[in-house]
């Protein structure tokens, strides 16, 4: 039974999200009694992991101070970074483990809740088999915790089903880079952006989702660099772009194949580079032949002349960079979209040198590090494949078990939810993941959660998903345990512990070690500190692609981060990959790979004629579990809004601020329109950070990329209808945002 125990109203009353406006001690506090310590650490709210200093007094984070010496962001922060300190002392913070009762949740002791959790997990496994239990992890966790989760699933529970919310983020790019280069990492440090003559930004809303990268783009432009931006929306960075290509959602691949078509047609490729360093060129050249600019224009809505011009700009540059993100990756052909971009770089010899190459912009806090060490369903630590016998032998040795004991690859995140829905998986233990908000097709997720025989959650706030839990184990924020992360540059950074978890809350790593102990597997989890876990992680990653062996906490501090691979203690790290002209494939070549056009999994039709695309706003982070509790961030963008072009709005007689019902093949939602000329008139946009009635994922679909298993958040079909007013349930679910008074500029 995993239905929420009491009404949504009463759960929201007790656990929030309540927007907090004042810092611990009140606004005047810092001027009267200043901080005792400044802790140099990193922001938890996106893949850039900006350096930041937290002001600490006693056991409380009371503010922040920019960390100007940190070389990535030089003190720059977006509003999420500025306000991130408001979480520790937040009134919604879970201070005790909670057990569900028919009357709601009650505080319990750790012994009672851990024993209960273990008893239920064992029961389910005894009845239905080991693989009837699944683990969900999160990419915002420090790498030590994600390593621990991978080991916990495979060693303590013996289940093959562990996956993480990075499945909704970086897997298309990761899969593509593994296929093309043999390794999953952006091959260049961000400083290279400053040296590029052309930067092609593909499906990346840099201003909202990777704000610090804006400064890199502007500095590139100051030095004469040209910017080409591809997006169905004119995001803020388009204002300074040299070219803006308004691609129709889901057609990116056609555009990039066409760019290559023009490059080859006009003989702009680098034949010597292709011959010396790549394989598969001929097949790819053949495959793009059909994609002349006119054909591509029909598919993509980008004018043929723009395609020609962009191709020439890109190919004629001595140094060109492609930056891409979820716009191309959140598609049922996400991997191929990335491959099409990589093919462009390879054909023009843009890889392995300063100011040239391709890079993925990581979304989540530890999006890069969190996927390297074993919480992905098909990977073991060090980015090793779980099906590779050598990798299994190495990992088994470090873990002190036999290779046969390591289960095979399991299901990916969406597949796990589907297996729960169809009754194959009966129990779920979830850490730092809010699938009810972040997975596509929220109604389906809700149904699945209600079918679970046991559901345990480890988290620091009560997420909407946790409403369905049997037990909620009060865990830790990023600043409450020491560890490492890896940024979108591949730079391994040190997350300092600033404070202890408040009340009876515990470090997540302690919780998992205790569970392992109570499952009778304590000897495999002998860690006293997260540093002990890191020492084992170094060993486990050794010899893998993501080799961390040569990286220690001290070495990170001394160098302001170390880029992996770093195989030995005297190795300086590797800021730029492939400088020797070799990829990480055994043949040392970069692989051109053929991409094949296909339609989206949720095509527009007469009944659903409008494209729907979803994404983020700068003031909110992912499912909003954290940022919907920070008043200043809530006020910046309190409710989801429907971005719609005046041409489309006119067709439905929708005016700015009107309520509109958006219906997809799954469900509907009603929200206010924001009529703007900055979006294609065949497309609407909704940000996805909210739950319940305000959740954009009510509308999205579960079609996955066949290889990366990423959902197609960026392309759905919908229809629009002007509504009379707000939806019935709006009052309950809108309590943290002011429905009637949008902040200036949003309407």
């Amino acid at each position: 039974m995993a239905k929420a125990p009491v009404s949504l109203e009463s759960l929201l009353d007790r656990f929030g999200p309540h927007p907090a406006y004042t810092p611990p001690g009140g606004w005047q506090d810092e001027s009267r009694s200043p901080a005792e310590r400044l802790v140099k650490t990193h922001c938890c709210f996106c893949g850039q992991q900006c350096g930041i200093q937290l002001k600490v007094r006693g056991n409380q984070v009371i503010g922040f101070e920019p960390w100007e010496e940190f070389p990535f962001n030089h003190g720059m922060l977006c509003p999420k970074g500025v306000k991130r300190y408001m979480q520790g002392g937040h009134p919604d913070r879970l201070l005790d483990p909670l057990l569900r009762t028919p009357k709601g949740f009650r505080a319990a002791t750790w012994d009672e809740s851990l024993d209960f959790t273990v008893a239920r997990l064992k029961e389910v496994q005894l009845k239905y088999g080991k693989d009837s239990v699944a683990i969900y992890g999160g990419a915002s966790l420090i790498s030590e915790k994600s390593y621990l989760l991978g080991k916990f699933a495979r060693v303590a529970l013996g289940t093959r089903h562990i996956d993480y919310n990075g499945r909704l983020c970086m897997v298309s790019a990761g899969t593509a880079y593994k296929l093309a280069f043999g390794v999953d990492r952006s091959p260049l440090p961000w400083a290279d952006i400053l040296k590029a003559q052309v930067v092609l930004v593909a499906g990346a809303n840099v201003a909202d989702c990777a704000p610090i990268t804006t400064d890199y783009l502007w500095r590139c432009r100051d030095a004469g660099g040209k910017l080409i931006i591809v997006d169905p929306r004119m995001t803020p960075i388009c204002r300074n772009a040299d070219m803006y290509l308004p691609v129709r959602p889901g057609t990116d691949m056609a555009l990039y194949m066409s760019l290559l078509n023009v490059i080859l047609r006009d003989g702009l490729e680098r034949r010597d580079f292709i011959a010396a360093h790549t394989t598969g060129f001929e097949q790819v050249a053949e495959s793009v032949r059909a994609w002349d600019p006119r054909t591509a224009a029909e598919k993509t809505g980008v004018p043929p002349e723009s395609i020609e011009r962009a191709a020439h700009l890109f190919a004629k540059a001595e140094r060109a960079i492609v930056l891409h993100a979820r716009g191309v990756e959140h598609q049922s052909k996400g991997v191929e979209n990335c491959l099409a971009l990589i093919n462009l770089c390879l054909a023009t010899g843009n890889i392995g040198r300063e100011g040239a190459g391709c890079a993925m912009i990581t979304g989540q806090g530890n999006g890069q590090g969190g996927r390297e060490h074993g919480q992905k369903c098909d990977q073991l630590p060090g980015q090793r494949s779980i099906s590779d016998p050598k990798a299994r032998a190495h990992t088994a040795k470090v873990w002190g078990i036999s290779p046969e004991e390591i289960p095979p690859a399991g299901y990916s995140a969406v597949e796990i939810m589907e297996a729960i829905h169809c009754g194959e998986i009966k129990a779920l233990l979830s850490c730092c993941f809010n699938p009810l908000v972040s997975l596509p097709d929220a109604k389906f997720t809700q149904e699945a959660l209600e079918k679970l025989e046991f559901f345990g959650v480890v988290d620091f706030f009560m997420s909407e998903t946790a409403h369905h839990a049997d037990v909620v184990l009060a865990g830790s924020l990023q600043e409450e345990e020491e560890g490492i992360g890896c940024t979108n540059e591949g730079r391994v950074i040190h997350i300092q512990k600033a404070v202890d978890p408040p009340g009876n809350a515990k470090g997540d790593s302690w919780i998992y070690c205790e569970l392992a102990k109570r499952l009778g597997k304590g000897k495999y989890f002998p860690y006293a500190t997260t540093k002990d876990i890191y020492e084992e992680l170094r060993e486990a990653s050794r010899g893998g692609h993501a080799d961390y062996f040569g990286i220690t906490y001290e070495k990170i501090d001394k160098n302001m981060g170390i880029f992996w691979p770093c195989p030995s203690l005297d190795h300086p790290g590797t800021p730029r990959l492939f400088e020797d002209g070799r990829s990480f494939h055994p043949d040392g070549k970069h692989h051109f790979l053929v991409t094949e056009w296909r339609e989206s999994g949720d095509p527009v039709s007469v009944e659903f004629p409008v494209y729907l695309t979803t994404g983020r706003v700068v003031s909110q982070y992912l499912s909003g579990t954290q940022t919907r509790r920070i008043g200043a961030l809530v006020d910046q963008y309190p409710n989801p809004r429907l971005e719609i072009h005046p041409r489309l709005a006119e067709q439905y007689q929708i005016k700015d601020g009107d309520w509109v019902t958006v219906t997809s093949r799954r469900n509907d939602m009603t929200l206010q329109a924001m009529v703007v000329k900055t979006i294609r008139p065949d497309t609407v946009f909704i940000p996805y950070h909210w739950a319940g009635e305000r959740s954009a994922n009510r509308l999205t679909h579960r079609t996955l990329d066949p290889r990366s298993k990423i959902p197609e958040f960026k392309v759905s079909a919908c229809r629009l209808r002007k509504a009379d007013g707000p939806p019935d349930g709006a009052r309950a679910s809108n309590r943290t945002g002011n429905l009637s008074e949008p902040r200036k500029g949003q309407a």
């Binding site: 004042t22 606004w27 005047q28 506090d29 810092e30 001027s31 200043p34 922040f64 920019p66 100007e68 003190g75 720059m76 922060l77 977006c78 509003p79 970074g81 500025v82 201003a207 909202d208 704000p211 804006t214 400064d215 502007w218 432009r221 100051d222 929306r233 004119m234 803020p236 960075i237 204002r239 300074n240 803006y244 308004p246 809505g301 980008v302 004018p303 339609e599 095509p603 527009v604 039709s605 007469v606 004629p609 700068v618 072009h645 005046p646 041409r647 489309l648 067709q651 924001m674 009529v675 703007v676 000329k677 900055t678 294609r680 008139p681 065949d682 200036k744 500029g745 949003q746 309407a747």
Partner: protein, 198 residues
């Protein structure tokens, strides 16, 4: 900070409001932001602008103040009103050509950007210019700003009034008209095509 100047460039601004939030963290006026932030015309463009006080050489705000509560320091920084003197009359609010000062009724006082006096006087950069992710607000040396595409100016004309300021505004070296509608970049000629299934 000696040798550093403040530059504002709205063309870089991405509207993130980090400056607004960070200003409210400053110890001298914690909880109150002094940044003037605006979406220019969100229906037509994503353009946004964030402004600090321009710190005029001859500050109109100070000239119209009947209580002589607004002082300019030797460093050229025009301070918030002096609390004991300020009578909250709003003359400065109305007179400032840039619309900068704000009256905070709860403090019965005009407050505005003082270029983070507490920070700049001890060798730190102002809070907003430190955090701004686009460096639309930046506090750097003039030789650094010389590398930009845009050029700085600190002379403004308001009708007959010529105002010279401490803070510089970045203006385009050469300006082209820029279209702000997606339609102008698209291939399809008529709207009819859009709503048809492919």
């Amino acid at each position: 900070m000696h040798g550093y100047e403040f530059y504002v460039d709205p063309s870089r601004c991405i509207g993130c409001q980090s400056c607004v939030e960070a200003c409210a963290e400053c110890e001298t006026h914690r909880g109150k932001s002094m940044i003037n932030f605006d979406f220019i015309d969100r229906q037509r463009t994503t353009a946004t602008a964030a402004y600090v006080c321009w710190h005029c050489e001859e500050p109109t705000c100070a000239m119209v103040c009947p209580a002589d509560a607004i002082k300019k320091g030797d460093d050229g920084i025009v301070q918030s009103s002096l609390k004991p003197r300020c009578i909250g009359c709003s003359n400065c609010v109305l007179a400032c050509p840039f619309g900068i000062p704000k009256i905070f009724p709860e403090y019965e006082q005009m407050m505005k950007c003082d270029m983070c006096y507490d920070r700049t006087s001890v060798g730190k950069k102002p809070m907003c210019a430190t955090v701004c992710p686009s460096q639309a607000l930046s506090y750097v040396r003039p030789e650094e700003i010389g590398k930009r595409r845009e050029k700085p100016t600190n002379v403004f004309h308001f009708g007959n009034q010529k105002i010279v300021t401490r803070v510089h505004m970045m203006i385009p070296a050469e300006t082209d008209a820029v279209s702000l509608d997606v339609l102008d970049y698209m291939w399809e000629e008529s709207y009819a095509v859009f709503s048809q299934p492919q």
